[in-house]
Structure formats: structure tokens, C-alpha cells
């Protein structure tokens, strides 16, 4: 359905969420020659900054907590920082701010991302020494705590951020425990096999890694500071600092009940980055990008995905910017991005292209697992859908091209440093659609 008013070129574009996706969209809009009003609303008081270093070099104090993203000088943005967007009127095309202001828009980009999932029991979550990590303020709280040499750091959750945190702790010589309910760490992104490999690496670095374990309760001492956790199986682990790393919650509450299609998985949008209404038709002039978006991935047979990675936030925002200026659907482009991410921890550089989590099978295509330098490929229905490198990133572009071409699985038979290839079960939970 064409939207008649979208043929007029926009003269005011409002972006809700002033972080990676918001800034990337703003830069792209200006690059494409958009010269109208451009408003960026962000509830954090800071100009857009970069999050990946916060769980890496910032904690070991190799970088400061000021990770402000570089900005071209001539962006000409009307910044509304330190104030949250509170609601949208889709018919009047107006966005309301928490300070009572209201702004009309021709196009609206929703890029409000996610926040750290808090510890579910509020009384325990508020104990002194129980922290989470998502933004600069979190890092500002965490850095001095780590620098004060706590006796033991306990991390609840063995996902990427939890494991990166543990790696920093070990680098600083701190005793650290990870409590993870799955049988392997980072299983959702890496699967059983690679997850098991990572478990070995993590333990080799002296982390007390408790797998298949759940924290039941957080305990404080008499002074009200954190003292220990009690596990489901009754074991007690003393600790001086707890970091809750249980993943992210999408910032969509402010959109609920306004006619947009939201859920715990984010704000639904189509492949053109247009936000959808409850009846799945695009909301006029409204787009979404980044961690908050829940969208159909062409490379994944159109399955709906949420991608919480840096590369997608940038690419999706750029595509949304393009489509905001496109007029009608004939000028719009599909966001076809093949998701990718990286992580650095325990001396390893981990990189992945494609979403491995829907894979049925996998194989080590190059290098050796024992040597901690290898490339794994993942397949579904006979096609290669993802490739993951451990300290072998140089080969990934070739695999990316093969994945984009829809190469069979395994994609390559005959490569330098290729072991005898053996297909194995990928070890992901069944895909939820």
C-alpha cells in the first residue's frame, strides 16, 4: 500500500534513540543530501558513544569510559539529550517527550535499542555491589569497583558480555566465577561444539566456570554489601562484586498501546525497515533500526530475527535513512545484510558471519581446534549459512561471499590448512519462529 504523503520530500526527520543506529542514520541522511531538520532524541545525557569497548578495553582501563563515536562536523543536528521519548501519535505524526515537548515529524526512526536485563528480584538487585553493564554510567560504576581489587567477582550469565567481563577480570588478576545455566557458555550464538571449546579456554585462564548452574539468591552482609550467591543446588559462593549479565531487554515499552506491533522481541518492521502496525501494514513515515528492530532476514528464508550486533545497527540504520528519503516503495531497498559480530576475550579474536543459530550441522573447515586457530562452517538444509573464525579472521571475507552466493555445505573442499572435514551436529536449540 503506497503512502500518499510520503511522496513529498521530508522536511523534518526525528530519530528516537541517540546511539549507534541513530547516529549512523543521521550521518547517512546528510550524506544523501537531506538538508531539512534533523532531531536526535536520547534519554542518556551523552552524545552517541560506542558500547563494545565497555566490556573490553575500558574495564582494564586501557581506554577511558568516554567512547564517544566520531562525528562529522557538519551534521547540523538538533540534539535533545537527557530526555526520553514518551509516545507517538501515528495519525498526527507527532512524538512526545518526557519533558512535555512534542515534535511533529515527516519521518521517524525508532532506534531505542535495548537495556541490560536486570536481576529479577528487585530487593536483591538493589544490594550494594550488584551491577549490570550496558552503558557508560554502568562502566563508570564498574571500573572503580574492579580497580579496588575485589576478592571475587561473580558473573551471572555466560553470554558474550559475561565472558568478556570475566576475561578482563582475569587480565587484572582477579578471581572470577561465571554461573551459567546452559551446558556451555555463549551457546545461543556459538552452539554446543564451539561453546564447549570456549569452556576449555575459559577454564584454562583460571575462571571458575559453573555450567548447568543457576543462581537462586543473592545475599548481603550486615553492612548491606553483597556477600554471596546461593545456587539452586544449595552451593554457596562468596563474592564481593556481582555483575548480572543476563542479556538485554528491548526498549519498546514506550511504544505499547500506540498501534505499533511490539513484543518482547522488539518492534516489528519489514525488510524495508518500515515499522509495522498491529495489522502488519507499515506505519506511515515510521522506520526502525538496530537492536530494537525485529525483522525478516532474507538470507534466513525470511525468518524474523533480532540482531544485537554493531554491524547490523549501522547497516540497518543506513538503509532506513535511504528508504526514508526514497519517497515510495519503488525507490526503497531491502535490508539484506548478512549479520556478523566479533568478540575478543581470553586472547582470542572471535568473528562470525551469518546467523549460526539455525544451523543443523557444522564442520571445522580450516585450522585446528587444539591450536586455538580455526574456522568453523555451519549448514542448514545442505546450504552454508554461517562461518565462525577463531584467530583466523583473514579468511572470513571469502566465506561471506560463499554464504551470500548460497554455497552448498560444506562450502569448500580443498583449502590451505584444511583438516579432514567431518560433519557434526551444530548443537543449537531448535529454532523458534
Amino acid at each position: 500500500m503506497a503512502d500518499p504523503s510520503s511522496f513529498a520530500p521530508p522536511s523534518r526527520i526525528v530519530v528516537a534513540g541517540a546511539s549507534l543506529a541513530g547516529l549512523s542514520a543521521a550521518k547517512r541522511l546528510r550524506q544523501l543530501g537531506y538538508s531539512g531538520d534533523l532531531v536526535l532524541i536520547g534519554d542518556e545525557p551523552y552524545p552517541p558513544y560506542d558500547r563494545p569497548p565497555l566490556s573490553k578495553q575500558v574495564l582494564t582501563r586501557r581506554l577511558s569510559t568516554d567512547t564517544t563515536l566520531p562525528q562529522p562536523r557538519d551534521l547540523d543536528i538538533d540534539w535533545r539529550l537527557g530526555v526520553a521519548a514518551r509516545g507517538v501519535d501515528l495519525t498526527a505524526r507527532r512524538i512526545d517527550l518526557a519533558n512535555g515537548d512534542a515534535l511533529d515529524y515527516d519521518r521517524l526512526l525508532i532506534a531505542t535499542g535495548t537495556r541490560a536485563r536486570p536481576w529479577p528480584k528487585p530487593d536483591e538487585a538493589s544490594i550494594d555491589g550488584v551491577l549490570t553493564l550496558r552503558g557508560r554510567d554502568d562502566a563508570d560504576r564498574l571500573v572503580p569497583r574492579l580497580a579496588a581489587s575485589p576478592g571475587r567477582v561473580l558473573i551471572i550469565g555466560g553470554g558474550f558480555i559475561g565472558c568478556e567481563l570475566a576475561s578482563c577480570c582475569r587480565e587484572m588478576g582477579l578471581a572470577v566465577t561465571i554461573v551459567e545455566s546452559e551446558r556451555v557458555p555463549m551457546r545461543r550464538a556459538l552452539g554446543e561444539r564451539i561453546g564447549a571449546f570456549m569452556a576449555g579456554v575459559i577454564r584454562d585462564h583460571g575462571v571458575d566456570l559453573r555450567l548447568g548452574a543457576m543462581v537462586e539468591r543473592i545475599e548481603a552482609d550486615n553492612a548491606g554489601a553483597v556477600a554471596a550467591v546461593m545456587l539452586k543446588d544449595g552451593k554457596r559462593i562468596g563474592c564481593d562484586l556481582i555483575i548480572v549479565a543476563l542479556g538485554a531487554v528491548r526498549n519498546v515499552e514506550w511504544l505499547e498501546g500506540l498501534g505499533l506491533l511490539t513484543s518482547a522481541r522488539g518492534l516489528r518492521c519489514d525488510a524495508f525497515c518500515r515499522a509495522l502496525r498491529a495489522n502488519e501494514s507499515p506505519a506511515p513515515g515510521v522506520f526502525a533500526a538496530g537492536d530494537v528492530a525485529h525483522w525478516p532476514l532474507v538470507a534466513n528464508d525470511g525468518h524474523l530475527v533480532t540482531v544485537e550486533h554493531w554491524g547490523n545497527a549501522v547497516e540497518q540504520a543506513r538503509m532506513a535513512a535511504h528508504n526514508m528519503l526514497a519517497g515510495d516503495i519503488t525507490g526503497m531497498r531491502i535490508h539484506q545484510h548478512l549479520p556478523d559480530f566479533w568478540s575478543s576475550q581470553f586472547g582470542l579474536n572471535i568473528k562470525c558471519v551469518g546467523l549460526a543459530d539455525s544451523a543443523e550441522e557444522m564442520a571445522i573447515a580450516q585450522g585446528s581446534v587444539e591450536g586455538r586457530r580455526f574456522l568453523a562452517v555451519f549448514g542448514r538444509k545442505g546450504r552454508t549459512i554461517a562461518a565462525l573464525s577463531i584467530n583466523s579472521a583473514r579468511w572470513l571475507p571469502a566465506y561471506r561471499a560463499l554464504i551470500e552466493e548460497g554455497a552448498p555445505f560444506p562450502p569448500i573442499e580443498g583449502a590451505v590448512d584444511q583438516p579432514r572435514m567431518r560433519k557434526e551436529a551444530a548443537g543449537f536449540a531448535s529454532i523458534d519462529t
Binding site: 580450516q366 586457530r373 574456522l375 583473514r394 571475507p397 580443498g414 590451505v416 590448512d417
Partner: protein, 414 residues
């Protein structure tokens, strides 16, 4: 013009002075099959992709040539074993991961920034000494008098090879450079000579390393010999020798050609020679542009371990692949006005040093040598002029450069 014999024309000696028009035709078919089954890759994009493709191997040395001596023990036992050892310990430019990476890592360690930086002063001294030797001459041969001796002296200094052994090294390096050059490697007579040279240089290196172990001094060779890698331990003697020889050879003729091509280009573009004389600080940009515009290494060969589809062409498994780096560095899709020599280019990501895992280990040193040499020549040669418009070239099409470069001068400036 037929595409499938174009590479043969590029290899022909008469193309040596100016192969670039042929490269431009070649690029019209970025991945072109030749009549002998070889595939030649000439566009920037395709070369870039293939440099990072795991299906291409660098282990493409020709099969060993075993010569019958009539002595059965030597012919049937000793020589084949020797050949096997040699193949297993070939220099790492001809090896694939994981062995390549381990050896390369050791060498990178030795190329520490401090050690490389310290070479600048030493290189300046060497360059000025060579120019001093040309006092009271009206004509010099830039190759014999300057470009040729400079890199050997530098690399001997770096490795820690005694000065008095240098002349011997020059001869060895020249012979062995032909073994790196794909088009000369296939010549049987020449290959045999290289093997004999390799035996001689191996024996020399072995003795030298033993002496160094007995009387340790701070240099690269000893560093390589004594370093214990956390996962791989100490380097074995075969790898040590093949690596030392590689450093000598890979850094020799290439650098000679950089300097010679550089001076030739400057004499053909006198405004840039003048600028360099007035502003030595532009030397780094100038050297970078030379590496794009007149690179010392024109192509490298690889072997396809599996079928590779690129740009709509299928390269079959087992096929030799020629990466025509010098054509990629002049690809108009990547470099605006590619045939113009312009040191002020915005972005200059040329293939002069290759790319990816075999990217030149000696690049920082080579840059210093190029900068120092050209600045010294620009400042000290009084009124230099080309004697011939087109110099005579070495036979090599890959390691391409003038055999002689006569230059007329009005004197040497102190």
C-alpha cells in the same frame, strides 16, 4: 588481440620497458584463461578477493629436478631424501598456514620497530658512502654503483653477516632471486644453478650460526636462532637457513628495482625530482606512489586447491593462478587516473607489497631504503640526466627492473 595469449606477450622481453598497455587490455577480462591453462587475474577487485581466498595455495614450487649421477646411493637415497627435506623446509613465502604463520611470526618478532628504525641511520651512511665513491665521475650506472650494492649491505647489516662476506652474498642473492621469479624458475638449467647456490649458502649460514651461538651478538640471525616460541619451541636448522636465505633474497632485487625504477621515474618527471630535493618530507608519499606506479614485483603465482568461481569465471582445481599485482595497482576502477604518477594521491592502497598473509615482511625496511636512497640521490647528484630514454631491462617479468641505468651528472654535491 587474443586474450588467451596475452600473458605470453607480457612475458616476452620486448614488453619489458612498458607492459602497462598490455595490462589495460588484460583487465578487460579480469580473470582470463591462457592457452596453457593458467588463469591470469588483473583487476584490483578480483586480486584483492583472491589474496584472501583460502583455496589459493602458495606451495607451487616446480617438482624437484633430480639429476642422475650414476651413484645409486646418491641417486636413489641421499638425493631424494635431501629433496624431501628441502621441500618440507622451503622458505615460508612458498608455504601455507599453519607452518607459514609460525615462521612468519618469528620473523615479525625480529622486525621490531626499534630495530627497523635503527636501520635508517645506517642506511643513510651506506647510501652516502656509495655516492661518495662516484666523486669526479661524469656518468654513473645507477644500478651497479648504487641500487645494487645498497640493499645487500643493508640486509647483511640487519642479519648480522660480516662485512667481508658481503661480496659473496651479492652473487648468491642474484642467483637465488631468480628462484623467486616465477618466469625464471621454470628454466631447468637455472633452477639447477639455484639449487647448487642454495647448498653453498646453506653451508655458509650453518657455519655462521654456529659461530654466533658461540659468540652471541645482538642481531636478527641470532635472534631467529635462539628465540623459543611458546608453542613451537626453537626453530630447526633447516627452517632457520631457508628463512635467512629468504630474507636475503626477497629483500634484494626488489629493493634494487625500487630504487632504480624510482630514479628513472623521477628523471622522467623532473618536477617531482625537484620537489623531493626541496622537500625531503614528501619521500614517503613518493615511495608509496612508486610502489603503485612502477612496482618491483609485477605478479605472484598461486595454485587453486579447489574450483573457485570469481567474476563469473570458474578456475578449475589444480590450476596455476597468476595474480597480476601491477595491473591491479593501475586499475582505473580503484585509482583515478591510474597511469598518472601522482605522489599526492588521496588513498593509495596498492599491491606493491602484495597483501593478506604473505604481505611483505620487509615493507617497513624497504620503505626506509627507498626514501633514504632517493632523497640522497636527489640532493647530491648535480644535474642528473638520463643517457638513454629506455634502459635495458633484466629478463624477469615479475621482478621487473633495469639491468643498467646510465645517468650523466655534473658532479656530486657534498
Amino acid at each position: 588481440m587474443s586474450q588467451d595469449t596475452l600473458f605470453a606477450r607480457i612475458l616476452a622481453g620486448k614488453s619489458r620497458p612498458n607492459p602497462y598497455p598490455l595490462y589495460a587490455i588484460m583487465r578487460k577480462t579480469p580473470v582470463a584463461r591462457q592457452t596453457d591453462g593458467t588463469y591470469v587475474v588483473s583487476s584490483y577487485d578480483a586480486i584483492y578477493r583472491l589474496l584472501y581466498d583460502p583455496r589459493l595455495s602458495s606451495e607451487d614450487l616446480p617438482p624437484p629436478l633430480l639429476h642422475w649421477t650414476g651413484n645409486p646411493i646418491k641417486d636413489l637415497i641421499i638425493d631424494p631424501i635431501k629433496e624431501q627435506i628441502r621441500a618440507r623446509h622451503r622458505p615460508f613465502i612458498f608455504r601455507d598456514p599453519p607452518d607459514h604463520d609460525v615462521l612468519r611470526r618469528r620473523v615479525m618478532r625480529e622486525f621490531s620497530p626499534e630495530r627497523v628504525r635503527a636501520m635508517r641511520g645506517k642506511t643513510e651512511k651506506i647510501a652516502h658512502d656509495l655516492i661518495d665513491n662516484c666523486q669526479s665521475r661524469e656518468q654513473i650506472d645507477l644500478v651497479d654503483n648504487f641500487s645494487y650494492p645498497l640493499p645487500v649491505t643493508v640486509i647483511c647489516e640487519l642479519l648480522g653477516i660480516p662485512r667481508e662476506d658481503e661480496p659473496q652474498f651479492q652473487g648468491w642473492a642474484t642467483q637465488l632471486a631468480t628462484a623467486l621469479d616465477p618466469d625464471q624458475r621454470s628454466d631447468e638449467e637455472n633452477w639447477k644453478k639455484s639449487q647448487i647456490t642454495f647448498d653453498q649458502i646453506s653451508a655458509y649460514m650453518q657455519a655462521l650460526i654456529d659461530r654466533k651461538r658461540a659468540d652471541p651478538q645482538e642481531d636478527m640471525l641470532l635472534g631467529l636462532a635462539t628465540y623459543k616460541d611458546p608453542s613451537d619451541g626453537r626453530m630447526n636448522n633447516y627452517d632457520l637457513i631457508s628463512t635467512a636465505v629468504l630474507l636475503l633474497v626477497a629483500g634484494h632485487e626488489t629493493t634494487v628495482n625500487l630504487i632504480t625504477n624510482g630514479m628513472l621515474t623521477l628523471l622522467r618527471h623532473p618536477e617531482h625530482l625537484e620537489r623531493l630535493r626541496a622537500t625531503p618530507a614528501m619521500a614517503p608519499r613518493l615511495v608509496e606512489e612508486l610502489l603503485r606506479y612502477e612496482p618491483p614485483v609485477h605478479y605472484r603465482t598461486r595454485l587453486a586447491l579447489a574450483e573457485i568461481e570469481i567474476g563469473g569465471v570458474k578456475i578449475p582445481k589444480g590450476t596455476p593462478v597468476v595474480l597480476l599485482l601491477a595491473a591491479g595497482s593501475r586499475d582505473p576502477d580503484r585509482f583515478p587516473d591510474p597511469d598518472c604518477f601522482d605522489p599526492d594521491r588521496e588513498s593509495n592502497t596498492h599491491f606493491g607489497f602484495g597483501g593478506s598473509l604473505h604481505y611483505c615482511v620487509g615493507a617497513p625496511l624497504a620503505r626506509i631504503e627507498g626514501e633514504v636512497a632517493l632523497v640522497a640521490l636527489a640532493r647530491r647528484l648535480l644535474n642528473p640526466r638520463l643517457v638513454e630514454t629506455v634502459p635495458r631491462y633484466h629478463p624477469g617479468a615479475s621482478l621487473r627492473g633495469p639491468r643498467h641505468l646510465p645517468i650523466a651528472i655534473d658532479g656530486i654535491i657534498d
